[in-house]
């Protein structure tokens, strides 16, 4: 009896050890000559949000290659060093420390997910290395300090856009919200959405939560179904969003579900399938945009990546590297203080995702695009300007 108890105790202990066990990070960087300008990037190249990291990374890589083909900046080529954080908490801090202290990069580009940008930001700030996030939308990211920038809009704006969209386009009065407690992005976006939606006279009839990595959402969705909403706001990342939409349809929920730019990945459709028809999300750009800047970028990206159509993460990844190169040129040096000032002074830089001007809080102000999912494809609906 006693020994059985003890055996089970050890077993339970082992179970916990198993749950906590991680594995070694892999580094794919290379070192090179001294007469280059080193730029670091950290991205979720593998793991749960790999679609974000891959897309953003391809965009950034395209920009770096273009800059180098045109002779580089300040007469030097850019040496691009990138690291994978495997979409895992804690890993971003490790790889960014490595980029700064071992590789001595002059600036850091990344990440897409706000939670992982927030991990790296204090490190960049403490080392006075400018960090430009291509597409983290949570306001807290740039609030970390004056060395942290972003080239996309922020969630208070995105939340407002989606609240107005739900009211005017979806004619929704009662909305349910299902958000991810483990992602600052999700919580922030849910919060800003609610504020605007309630202020405009709407009602939030049910508010449910889950935790990143969950796969069963039926309990939450059953509770939402009982509240009978006109639409369901699901601000989270694509892996969970795909499963949530699918399980919602399985439970007989027919109202539209809609989300933010975290839905932007081809994997969303692979996971969600037909269940996604008639759902919407907001994002930063649409490849269907007819402007020459967008079409030129789309054709260059397709040529380099086997016909893959770039999504918003790729476009912002491209813009983040271009804004950095532009700032290095204007600063005339890679000295961190002068480079920081040059990035902060970015005004009306014409990028793929529109004109980028950084405000006093180091955020960009840009229009949001709403896409619908129709016949298994992302279709442009409308552009909403700030």
């Amino acid at each position: 009896m006693k020994s059985l108890k003890r055996n089970l105790f050890f077993t339970a202990l082992a179970a916990v050890a198993l749950a906590l066990a991680g594995c070694k990070p892999s580094s794919e960087s290379k070192t090179g000559a001294a007469d280059t300008i080193k730029v670091g990037e950290f991205a979720s190249l593998t793991g749960k949000e790999a679609a974000f990291g891959q897309s953003s990374h391809k965009g950034t890589l395209l920009a770096v290659e273009e800059i180098n083909a045109a002779g580089g900046v300040l007469g030097k080529k850019i040496e691009f060093i990138y690291e994978d954080n495997r979409s895992t908490p804690g890993e971003s801090a490790t790889v960014v420390k490595k980029l700064i202290t071992r590789d001595h990069v002059v600036a850091v580009l990344g990440e897409v997910a706000s939670g992982r940008s927030l991990e790296a930001a204090p490190i960049c700030q403490a080392n006075k290395i400018p960090q430009i996030s291509p597409s983290s939308t949570n306001p807290k990211v740039t609030e970390t300090g004056d060395y942290i920038f972003r080239v996309c809009f922020i969630d208070p704006f995105q939340g407002t856009v989606m609240a107005k969209f739900a009211k005017s386009r979806l004619n929704a009065k009662n909305v349910a919200v299902l958000s991810d407690v483990a992602a600052p992005y999700s919580l922030g976006l849910a919060q800003y959405f609610k504020e605007t939606f309630l202020a405009d006279g709407g009602t939030v009839v049910s508010e449910q939560k889950f935790s990143s990595g969950d796969k069963d959402f039926k309990a939450q969705l059953t509770a939402i179904k009982a509240a009978n909403p006109d639409a369901i706001f699901v601000p989270c990342y694509y892996t969970e969003a795909g499963l949530i939409v699918r399980q919602a349809r399985q439970l007989g929920i027919t109202v539209p579900l809609f989300g933010g730019d975290g839905w932007e990945a081809p994997e969303l459709i692979q996971i969600g399938g037909e269940a996604l028809e008639g759902c919407y999300y907001s994002t930063h750009y649409s490849p269907e945009d007819k402007s020459p800047a967008v079409q030129e970028f789309v054709s260059k990206f397709k040529a380099k990546n086997n016909g893959e159509i770039p999504d918003a993460m790729a476009a912002l990844g491209y813009d983040s590297a271009m804004v950095l190169a532009d700032a290095i040129k204007r600063a005339g040096t890679t000295d961190s203080v002068k480079l920081r000032d040059a990035i902060a002074a970015t005004k009306d830089y014409a990028g793929v995702t529109g004109k980028t001007s950084l405000d006093a809080n180091r955020n960009a102000t840009k229009p949001a695009v709403i896409l619908a999912i129709k016949d298994g494809k992302f279709k442009y609906v409308e552009t909403i300007s700030p």
Binding site: G47, K48, S211, K215, A219, A226, L251, I271
Partner: protein, 301 residues
């Protein structure tokens, strides 16, 4: 009321999968007295075999025949994997302390996870969308909705549980398994081939894990190399809850755990879902370590 009934259905279908994985844990424990932690990764391999059967080996998706064939393939491949793991990782440690076998099991688990994450020899680290193996439809009973996948999970779990019960209690191999579990030395003295019986146990347990992996992926169609860890640990909790080493206990434990988890979320405690599940483990170890259906075991000191 209909909301409550719907939550019961949700809990039941989640619990059925836990039960299926728990059966594998409990069988190996029943015979060898140790927890095979690599079980949750065999579960993952099972799901991936199902994925490759449809996506790479082009079995027909959305058909009962193709689905059953994929299920059978996954169970066969994982049974072989289970036998290999036992042969090379656990057999050399036969007769050593339980703790060293346990640590080896964790090592095997990490090995499988990391091999699976490798792009060249494994499945790669990114999540993949799992195809629909069986024809899919929703059944509506008043306000309640049951998906065909949920029904399949229940049916497969019941069938496998019955088959397992039959094998263990009514066949010669099953009798040998029970004899081995009772006393290995005496069993070999009466002519039982211990090595064969143990290999057989692993084959059986691993094929159950594969079935669990496929059914889990059917209901939650996003699979990745680390997908086994959490359901595996939950199934371990279920096995302990029902009384480890006890087959009906594992089934009961799985269903109870699935219902508890679903009801916790339904009552608004979604963030405490895993905490409650593991809280159940601590509670049962403190109050009734032999589990709900287990018998208190006496060991000579």
């Amino acid at each position: 009321m209909s909301e409550f009934l719907q939550q019961l259905i949700n809990g039941l279908s989640l619990g059925a999968i836990y039960a299926l994985i728990a059966l594998g844990y409990t069988m190996v424990y029943g015979v060898l007295r140790f927890i095979n932690f690599a079980h949750s990764d065999v579960f993952m391999v099972g799901a991936f075999v199902g994925y490759y059967a449809i996506e790479k080996w082009h079995l027909p998706a959305n058909s009962i025949g193709g689905g059953l064939l994929a299920l059978a393939m996954a169970m066969a491949i994982c049974a072989a994997l289970g036998v290999l793991i036992e042969r090379f990782a656990y057999r050399p440690l036969r007769g050593r302390s339980t703790l060293s076998v346990l640590i080896t099991a964790i090592g095997v688990s990490l090995l499988l996870q990391n091999v699976a994450q490798n792009r060249q020899i494994g499945f790669g680290p990114n999540p993949k969308a799992f195809p629909n193996l069986f024809p899919y439809s929703n059944f509506h009973l008043g306000a309640l909705t049951v998906s065909s996948n949920q029904v399949i999970v229940l049916i497969v779990t019941l069938v496998l549980l019955a088959a397992l019960y039959f094998i263990v209690n009514h066949t010669r191999t099953g009798t040998a398994m029970r004899a081995l579990s009772f006393n290995p030395t005496a069993a070999s003295l009466v002519g039982i081939n211990n090595d064969f019986i143990i290999s057989f146990t692993f084959a059986l347990g691993s094929s159950l894990a594969a079935a669990g992996g496929i059914l889990y992926a059917l209901n939650y169609p996003s699979i990745d190399p680390l997908m086994g860890t959490l359901p595996g640990l939950k199934a371990f909790v279920a096995a302990v809850l029902g009384g480890i080493g006890n087959l009906p206990g594992a089934a009961v434990g799985g269903v109870v755990l699935g219902l508890v988890e679903t009801l916790v979320v339904a009552c608004g405690g979604s963030t405490y879902r895993d905490a409650v599940a593991f809280g159940v483990l601590i509670l049962i170890l403190l109050v009734r370590p032999s589990g709900l259906l287990g018998k208190a075991e006496r060991e000579k000191v």
